[in-house]
Each structure stands twice: as structure tokens, then as C-alpha cells.
């Protein structure tokens, strides 16, 4: 029996067809993955299913009843629960309240309390019931998000990138949770996910969306073998192939160091985050800074920029000492940061987002025109998106915009914090090419990544951090070849 059927479901934003004539049948008890490149319409599809967006045309049958266009709360009451791509919890309430309050709508008072403990047990948060949700770790918050979705007695569970932003070892915990929800609790689950290894291992069936349309559907093995999917989604990406193809470029820079950290220590309040970090980047290099979540990578970038000033040690940029300078002065010396999560202004359009740094740096209009043209040369795809609001851009477009924005001014040294986060492999590949191109034009690059593959492919040299210290320094192919070290330091 089909629990969910969509018939010719469409959602348009102006002339953009975000979801286009999608027919999808979901069997009861099934675990279905929806995959597709960024901007394929996956989240929009979820939003239409749950009533957050009204479909432009088409029908949605849930247990035989047409629910297209119902208000979100009515859809929830019918038995569709969902979690969110960007973690959506009640931050200032305790973990317990986060689950209990929604439960009251579906259970009597006593049942609700029992049910709350049951859910907390399922998502592994029983021991943290009295913690304020905002203080949970990212991974725990993702699990709480799923827990909230479970309060509504859902028969169908929609999970939007449940493992987003998680390091591999935590993703495994989430995958186990999802599998348990399916096999032990009998939920029908549909999930959006980018991590292909997860998708291939847990799905009964996979649906592939591309530019709003369904281009393929089938068992994991079928999808893997499907040429069209390969082309649209995976872009011919293959791990081993990538490493063989590692570019031959050796350090071109004449060897002199553009950035040099020596015994740098940083703190957040009392907690000692960076411990005697020493590293150097030569002019013209691409250097990768890898490590698990919480290893101190982002803090290193923040310390270089002066956002988290170093308590001791020295940072030299060119010939100057910069560790005591305020962030804006450091930025004006030619260092820029592409922050994690991209930080695009959601309510400004693409052009406005791009123009902001020009105002702040006081660049005259002629130079501004030239630079904007240059930026669009790197990212031709952005040209036709000029008037789109930030929140209407896909993840890939947002990332391109964030990089473009960081190129404004006389940038000599660019730091990128997790540029590949939440992007489909094909987009990541494209991004890697752009980073290479920017580098060839003379910008030295420091790349922080969890996606070790992309970083290893690009980098001339690699640093790996562990618990706030530099744990490895060397060539990417050497790190790649040493599987044991690799696993120990990166957990992949």
C-alpha cells in the first residue's frame, strides 16, 4: 500500500520551476532517499509536502487523502513529521520541554510524559533532559530535531539532511538511529541526504531530482549504475581517480612565507583552544588545514584574522606582525575569510550582497565595476541570479557568492572555512576548480575542510590539527597513502 503519492506536483517561484511534475509513490515501511545536486528542489519538495509552501499544481495523497495546500499544522496532525536541514529546535527550552510540549497535542498528560522519555531514549538524549537545548552540541541538536519530529505520532517521517554538518563518527550514530526507527519502530522514512555512502547503504529505494524533475528512481544498485544520474549528480567523481589525477604543480612560490604562525595560543574565555600552533604558508600555495570537529581549525582562522586574538605567540603576514591588530586592520592588509555556513544576507539580493564589502572598504565605482566583472568571470552562473534574494539561492550559489564577496579589495591571502559543506559532489568539484583558478591568479589560499578528499586534491601542503595542536604536516599524497594515520587523524 502506498502511504504517500504525489501526482504531477509542481512548485514555481516566478519563472523558476523548483519542483516540476514530480510523481512519487512511497510504500508503507519504506526508507526512501531523495538525492540530487544543490538546487535540485529537494527541500522545496519537502516544504510543499508539509504545507509550508502551497503547490502551484498537482496533488499529494497521504493515506489516500489529498492534502495538497493544507496548512502546515494540519499536515502535521495528519501524521507527517519532519526534521529540518537547518536545525530547528526550541533553543531556550530544556531538551525535555522540547519534546514534552509538542507531545501534549497527541497524548494525554501521563502518556505524554512517558512518550517523552521514550523519545529521548531513542534519540540518545535521555541523560541530557535538563540541558537547555541551545547548549547542546551540534550533533545532539540534530538528534533533538529528529526527536521533535517524533512527537507528532508520525506515520511518515521526513528527514532533511539529518547528518548535515556532522563529522563521520557522529554521522554513524545518526544512521544507526534512522535504521532503528525504520526496523524497530516501523516508521516510513523519506530523507534528503548528500553523503552517498550513507544513502547507498540504508535506502530501500532512491529518487533522484535534478532541476526540479525526477530523473531516476530505483534500488541503490540501479541508481549507482544509472548513467544519467552519474552525469547529473556525481559528475563522474571517483575517489581513486581523483588522487591519481593530483595536479603535478609543485610549490611555485619563490619560497618566501606570506604567513607564519609561531607558538600561537588562543582561548575562548577560560578554555584553551589553540596550543602552540606553528605553521607557515608560502606565497602562491594552497595549504589545507584538516582535522575533526572541534580540533581548532576555525579558531586558527579566527586568530589569524584577529577575531579571537592570540594570547601568546606571533603571527607574521608578509613582513609585518599582525597578532595584536584588530580584525578590520588585518583585513585591509589583504587577508580575507570565507566563513563556514557562508553567511549570506538572506533578505538582500545577490548584487546587494556582493556590493556591501565595496562600501565598507570604500572602493570607488570604477574599480568596483572592474572587480565585479572579474568576480562574475569566475562565477558566470551567478550573472542571471543577480536580483535573487540570498535565501532563494541554492547552497552552491551561496558558496560562490561568499567566495566572490571575499575577493573584493586587494586580496592576497584567502582563507576558506568548509566551503564544501552541504554541497553535492558535482558542485564541490566545480568549486575546487574555481579555487584553483583563483589561486593561479596569485591569491594564496588556506583551506579548512572536513571534506578531506577535496582538500587533499587541491593542496600543495597539508596540516592536520588534533585537540588544538598541529598533529601532522606534510604532503597530501603522503597523508593519503598512510591510511592508518589518515584514519587516526581524520576518522575516515
Amino acid at each position: 500500500m502506498n502511504i504517500l503519492e504525489t501526482k504531477a506536483l509542481c512548485k514555481n517561484f516566478g519563472s523558476l520551476e523548483a519542483v516540476c511534475r514530480v510523481d512519487l509513490n512511497l510504500e508503507k515501511g519504506e526508507l526512501r532517499s531523495i538525492i540530487g545536486p544543490n538546487g535540485a528542489g529537494k527541500t522545496t519538495f519537502f516544504n510543499v509536502l508539509t504545507g509550508m509552501l502551497t503547490p502551484s499544481s498537482g496533488d499529494i495523497f497521504f493515506k489516500g487523502e489529498n492534502i495538497a495546500g493544507l496548512a502546515p499544522f494540519r499536515v502535521a496532525m495528519k501524521g507527517i513529521g519532519r526534521s529540518f536541514q537547518i536545525t530547528s529546535i526550541f533553543p531556550e527550552l530544556t531538551v525535555y520541554e522540547n519534546i514534552l510540549i509538542p507531545s501534549f497535542l497527541y497524548y494525554s498528560k501521563n502518556e505524554a510524559v512517558n512518550r517523552t522519555w521514550e523519545i529521548l531514549e531513542d534519540v540518545g538524549l535521555k541523560g541530557k533532559a535538563n540541558v537547555t537545548a541551545a547548549n547542546l552540541s551540534h550533533g545532539d541538536q540534530r538528534h533533538l530535531d529528529i526527536g521533535i519530529a517524533l512527537t507528532t505520532k508520525p506515520e511518515l517521517l521526513l528527514l532533511d539532511e539529518p547528518t548535515s554538518g556532522m563529522p563521520p563518527e557522529e554521522s554513524i550514530r545518526t544512521v544507526k538511529l534512522i535504521q532503528r526507527l525504520k526496523s524497530e519502530k516501523g516508521y516510513t522514512i523519506m530523507l534528503i541526504e548528500h553523503k552517498m555512502d550513507i544513502v547507498l547503504s540504508i535506502s530501500d529505494r532512491i529518487t533522484v531530482l535534478h532541476l526540479g524533475e525526477k530523473i531516476a528512481e530505483g534500488r541503490p544498485s540501479e541508481i549507482q549504475a544509472n548513467d544519467e544520474v552519474q552525469k547529473a549528480y556525481l559528475g563522474g567523481l571517483d575517489k581513486e581517480y581523483q588522487m591519481v589525477n593530483h595536479r603535478q604543480k609543485q610549490v611555485e612560490g619563490n619560497g618566501h612565507e606570506i604567513l607564519k604562525l609561531e607558538k600561537v595560543n588562543s582561548f575562548y574565555g577560560e578554555s584553551h583552544v589553540l596550543r602552540d600552533v606553528s605553521m607557515k604558508v608560502r606565497k602562491g600555495e594552497i595549504v589545507a588545514l584538516l582535522g575533526r570537529n572541534g580540533a581548532g581549525k576555525t579558531t586558527t582562522l579566527r586568530t589569524i584574522l584577529g577575531l579571537t586574538p592570540a594570547r601568546s605567540g606571533s603571527i607574521q603576514f608578509g613582513k609585518e606582525r599582525i597578532e595584536a591588530l584588530p580584525p578590520e586592520t588585518v583585513a585591509n592588509k589583504g587577508i580575507s575569510l570565507v566563513p563556514a555556513g557562508r553567511r549570506i544576507f538572506a533578505n538582500l539580493n545577490l548584487m546587494e550582497n556582493l556590493e556591501l564589502p565595496f562600501f565598507m572598504k570604500g572602493i570607488d565605482s570604477k574599480r568596483k565595476r572592474n572587480q565585479i566583472e572579474q568576480i562574475f568571470n569566475y562565477f558566470p552562473a551567478l550573472v542571471e541570479r543577480k536580483t535573487h534574494k540570498g535565501n532563494r539561492l541554492s547552497g552552491g550559489e551561496q558558496q560562490m557568492l561568499a567566495i566572490g564577496r571575499a575577493l573584493v579589495g586587494n586580496v592576497k591571502f584567502m582563507m576558506l572555512d568548509e566551503p564544501s559543506q552541504g554541497l553535492a559532489p558535482m558542485i564541490v568539484k566545480h568549486l575546487a576548480e574555481i579555487i584553483q583558478e583563483i589561486n593561479k591568479k596569485g591569491v594564496t589560499i588556506l583551506l579548512v575542510e572536513q571534506n578531506a578528499l577535496m582538500a587533499l586534491e587541491l593542496a600543495d601542503r597539508v596540516y592536520v590539527m588534533d585537540k588544538g595542536e598541529i598533529a601532522y604536516e606534510g604532503k597530501p599524497e603522503e597523508l593519503w597513502a598512510d591510511r592508518k594515520l589518515h584514519q587516526e587523524l581524520l576518522g575516515v
Partner: protein
């Protein structure tokens, strides 16, 4: 001693009892800080107003700059009916509160779909409509001169009982009882399932919808309930002054209650009560003691106090002490 504090902190009934005792003894405490019965009355009236407003601002996370309209409208409506029809005061109050509530329902239905700054702007717009009616319709409302001659003689039901409230102290005990009832109702409300849902809306409106709550209905109810508190306070204010004037409906008065809630501590039970008391007392005391060249600049001081709170004590007086405990 510390176990006593702990008992107080965990026992709600005890907390309410302590609050009630303080309020009942207030007229005897307030002379110690240079106050008088009238000041005590005003403090308690605005405490009722702010307490209700907190349901909307502190618990639901919705900012309104128009609640003075419901405060003033109830006062005017009660005043007019008492003056023209000479009905018992309690009936007059009920009439004022009912009319104000119906207005709140109609306005709420119209504007609750808007959020954030748009909602706040709409509340100002509606509030100012009533302000202009009160100040321009001279023949009916008394215009800028205000509505004078609102009687305050006895509270009672003819033939059943009758309590004089003409003396300020007697009147104080009447509003003290209203205050205690209002506090109990609010306490039960915010600790009910309804109150919990309001908090989820404040925390994350989209998610509250997605777990099945009809968010718009809850927001509307919160708006209406806070308006009823404003209306109750408004009728008491009219009785207290024997007089209503257009400024009671002004958005500046709405702003006052926002400040009281913020200074006391948004989203806490006792915060707005303390905030109202502190702001009302400061206004009066500053007017008496802080004169520059013979002129009173209490707004100047009030502005500074507000700045200090927003910058350094964002959780308000109550929130500050809660944290430091």
C-alpha cells in the same frame, strides 16, 4: 536560611502568597521610600497592565506598541457609561473591559497574520486611531480636556453589598484584590499547556507549526488575553483619577509598558510586576527630586535608565537576580 530560600524558589503557592502579602502591606511600606497611597495605587495598576503585556511580549515573543489603546478604550468606555447611565461601577467596568476586548479581537483577527516589525507598526496605527478619536471628538469624549467626572463611590451589588472605595486606601485594597486575582490567573495560564505552547512559538514559530500547533490561533489568544489585562488596568486607572485623557491611549503609553516589561524582565513571572513598580515610582520620585533649573526632565532620566538596562541588563531586574543566585 538557604533551605528556606530553596523552598520559596520551588513552591509556587508560597511565591504567590508572599507576593500577595507584600501587595497587601504595600501602603504601609511605601511611605518609607517617600511614597504615598496614590503612588501605590498607580504602581499596582501598571503592574496589572505589564503582567498581561508580558504574556504577549515575554512568552509569545510578539511586540505590540498599541496596548495603551485597549487600556484607554476600556477606561473611556467605562467612564462614559458610568457618567451617562449611572449604573453600578462593577457593571461599568465590565462594559469597558468587554468593549475593549471585542475591539482587540477584531483588530487581532486583522493583523495577527503579520509578524515582527510589520505587526508592531500596525498596532501603532490602530492605537493612534483611538488616540485621535479621543482627542478630537470633543462633544463625546471631552477632547483634549479629557473625560471628567468619572464617579468612584462604592463597589457593590445593590441590595447585596456595598463597599466604599472613595478613600484612596480603600480603593487600594480593591485594586490589590484585582491584582492578586490577575496574578493567580496569569500564573496558572503560563504554567498550563497553553502557556507552554506560547513559549514554543516564541522560540521557533515554524517548528511550532510543524508539530501541529495552529500558531495563528495561539498568537491571537495571547494578543486578546494581554488586551484584557490592559483593559482591566485601564478601568482601574479611570476610577483612580476620576478622569480619562487622550494620552492614556497614546503609543507613548504603549511604549511605557514595553519598557516596564523589559526593565523588569521579559518572560519571567515577577519581572514585569517589579518593572512596573520601579518605573512608576522612578517617574514620580524623579519628578519630585530631579529638577534641572526648575524644570522636570524625567523622560531624560527614564531614557538613560532604559539604555542602561538594554545595554547591561538585557534580562531585566528579575533576570539579573535570577542569574546571580
Amino acid at each position: 536560611m538557604s533551605s528556606l530560600i530553596k523552598t520559596i524558589r520551588t513552591n509556587a503557592t508560597l511565591q504567590l502568597a508572599i507576593l500577595s502579602i507584600i501587595v497587601l502591606l504595600w501602603p504601609y511600606i511605601i511611605p518609607l521610600i517617600g511614597g504615598y497611597d496614590g503612588l501605590a495605587i498607580e504602581m499596582v495598576i501598571f503592574a496589572i497592565f505589564a503582567m498581561g503585556f508580558n504574556i504577549l511580549l515575554g512568552y509569545t515573543g510578539i511586540l505590540s506598541f498599541g496596548h495603551a489603546a485597549f487600556f484607554g478604550l476600556a477606561g473611556y468606555a467605562m467612564g462614559l457609561i458610568l457618567i451617562h447611565l449611572k449604573i453600578p461601577i462593577l457593571l461599568g467596568m465590565l462594559f469597558g473591559i468587554a468593549l475593549s476586548t471585542v475591539t482587540a479581537i477584531l483588530i487581532g483577527l486583522l493583523i495577527i497574520r503579520k509578524t515582527g516589525i510589520y505587526f508592531a507598526m500596525l498596532t501603532i496605527a490602530f492605537g493612534q486611531m483611538f488616540f485621535f478619536i479621543a482627542s478630537r471628538w470633543k462633544s463625546f469624549t471631552g477632547g483634549e480636556d479629557g473625560l471628567t467626572g468619572i464617579p468612584r463611590d462604592v463597589i457593590g451589588i445593590p441590595g447585596l453589598f456595598s463597599i466604599p472605595i472613595f478613600e484612596p486606601l480603600h480603593f487600594y485594597y480593591f485594586i490589590a484584590i484585582v491584582f492578586i486575582l490577575a496574578a493567580i490567573v496569569k500564573y496558572r495560564l503560563i504554567h498550563s499547556h497553553f502557556g507552554q505552547v506560547l513559549k514554543t512559538i516564541r522560540e521557533n514559530e515554524t517548528r511550532a507549526q510543524m508539530v501541529g500547533y495552529n500558531v495563528r490561533r495561539y498568537k491571537l489568544l495571547s494578543f486578546i488575553i494581554s488586551s484584557i489585562y490592559a483593559a482591566v488596568a485601564g478601568t482601574l486607572y479611570g476610577l483612580f483619577l476620576n478622569y480619562m485623557f487622550p494620552q492614556t491611549l497614546d503609543w507613548i503609553r504603549s511604549g511605557d509598558v514595553v519598557i516596564m516589561t523589559l526593565v523588569g524582565g521579559m518572560g519571567t513571572f515577577f519581572g514585569p510586576i517589579i518593572g512596573a513598580g520601579v518605573i512608576v515610582a522612578l517617574r514620580v520620585l524623579i519628578s519630585i527630586y530631579a529638577k534641572i533649573g526648575g524644570l522636570v526632565f524625567w523622560q531624560l532620566f527614564m531614557g538613560m535608565i532604559f539604555l542602561i538596562f538594554v545595554l547591561f541588563f538585557p534580562k531585566g531586574i528579575w533576570g539579573f537576580f535570577q542569574k546571580s543566585e
